[in-house]
Symmetry: C2
Subunit: 291 residues, 2 copies
């Protein structure tokens, strides 16, 4: 099975602190890097992370607030200065192309590679995965994403092969390579990771996260700021945990913490009371996604 | 005499490295902070520096290349989130207003304070200083700046006061407060700091730096990259040193080093061979400007 890891590059909402940068998450599938959000300073975090910026295949943007996009132009400039020629896919709300075009034009910035803009409402097809988006519930258009790894073929069953008249030998290797369904067990579903920020707890987040191995959900506030969370269209830790429970995910990881919380343990405890398998993201934390 | 310090927030050209961020310099006069350039991650460096971001009175931009401006929108957002209401002055090439307006608009960013754009070719008047700009020689319009502190009044001369018929007493305090030129010695000229980047060595840099206490000059390359420096309209360390010598400055500080140089000692040596009182800037280095 290919390796699938998540590295948190920025876990603060709004403004950076000394320990948390603004939003960005890298997902790495066997060396292919997918970036989700790109707040200011993402390229700086990449210098410290076990993630090669040259291996970024696509950048997925949830919404146009600065703490999610102000790192894009600088990252593109650095990729150009590093001599990139391979195209880069960019996925996000329609306004993203306007932001990018005007920023690059007014800063005399002409990337050395093609930037391919994709419609956020389409399905993004990678070599071994797909990524879909759904609109969440925030103060401006904001989209959550779900990465779905392709199903893994079932295990080779020599009894089935023999029943079909095949004798053990090189032909077995060929049958496996051809993924012949007659000789394989049941396919094993690919892993799923959902990424929901910025948003109030909403039905679209549940839909995206349904059956996910990992749900990364924003948790800007603790319960004491419930009213502000609603007004500002953000989630509390408990709100994120209820989404995780309803969607039946394997694991919840909280992120996008307001800088008012130096210590996020109280948020973690609020969430665990509802959904026990919860962790709080930290900058440069890397996790392996397993079944 | 008021305190006058320079803090280097970013000393790398083009892209950040693990130890050097892209361009920004803060000058602090008795608590008033003036920022020169604002590359991506400047607000992150401010979190570590002995410089209060809330005390920033004005931001001076040399040119529109990303490594000098991509940190502006995020810094403005953070100042807003910190509740700033005091206006902020912004000075730079005419294209700066287009960059800023389009970036703020497309990222749904409405600052909580007024941003007052000034013509770079005018004279910026602070409470105790003026700042003037001259166009340098770069691949796009680029301006150097010179901060000139107001002259300090001469020392009170009791003999002159007595010759005018004043007897020692409270009247002396009044004469000093009124800065009566009849009882003061020669005025002492204010300190000068010139900031020249990005540019080839040019006459405008000499003019700006004439008699400066400190010249901060870009030094992107060492002598081995002389040809590239010319082509790309940058300076070598030796080029910067010749400007310092010609302008008769007190002290030269090199900055804006290409990330190809992990060790800038060779650049420092090249410059010192021409202008001995030279230092190489490092991120978070603070110097006191003295006469």
């Amino acid at each position: 099975m290919q390796s699938l890891t998540i590295t948190f590059l920025g876990t603060s909402s709004g403004t950076p602190s000394r320990t948390r940068n603004v939003s960005s998450v890298a997902m790495t599938l066997d060396g292919t890097v997918l970036l989700f959000d790109c707040g200011e300073g993402t390229q700086h975090r990449l210098l410290e992370a076990p993630v090669r910026s040259g291996a970024i295949e696509a950048i997925f943007i949830t919404h146009l607030h600065g703490d999610h996009v102000y790192g894009i132009p600088g990252l593109l400039a650095t990729l150009s200065m590093n001599g990139r020629t391979r195209p880069l896919d960019l996925i996000g709300p329609p306004e993203l192309s306007v932001y990018l075009e005007s920023t690059l034009r007014t800063s005399f910035h002409n990337p050395s590679f093609e930037i391919r803009l994709h419609d956020v409402k389409g399905i993004y097809r990678g070599e071994t995965f797909t990524i879909t988006a759904l609109e969440l519930d925030h103060s401006i258009p904001s989209f959550g994403y779900c990465l779905v790894e392709d199903d893994h073929p079932g295990k080779f069953d020599p009894d089935k092969a023999r029943a079909l008249g095949y004798e053990p030998g090189p032909v077995y290797t060929e049958l496996i390579r051809a993924r012949d369904p007659r000789v394989l067990g049941a396919a094993r579903p690919g892993r799923r990771i959902a990424y929901c920020t910025d948003t109030r707890p909403c039905a679209a987040a549940v839909e995206l996260a349904r059956g996910a191995d990992v749900l990364i959900h924003e948790s800007t506030y603790a319960g004491d700021m419930r009213t502000e969370a609603d007004e500002r269209k953000h989630s509390t830790a408990a709100g994120a945990a209820r989404i995780a429970a309803e969607a039946g995910v394997g694991r919840l990881i909280l992120t996008h913490f307001s800088s008012r919380y130096r210590d996020v343990i109280p948020l973690l405890e609020e969430a665990r009371a509802i959904f026990p398998n919860t962790d709080a993201a930290e900058d440069l934390m890397t996790i392996e996604v397993t079944r």
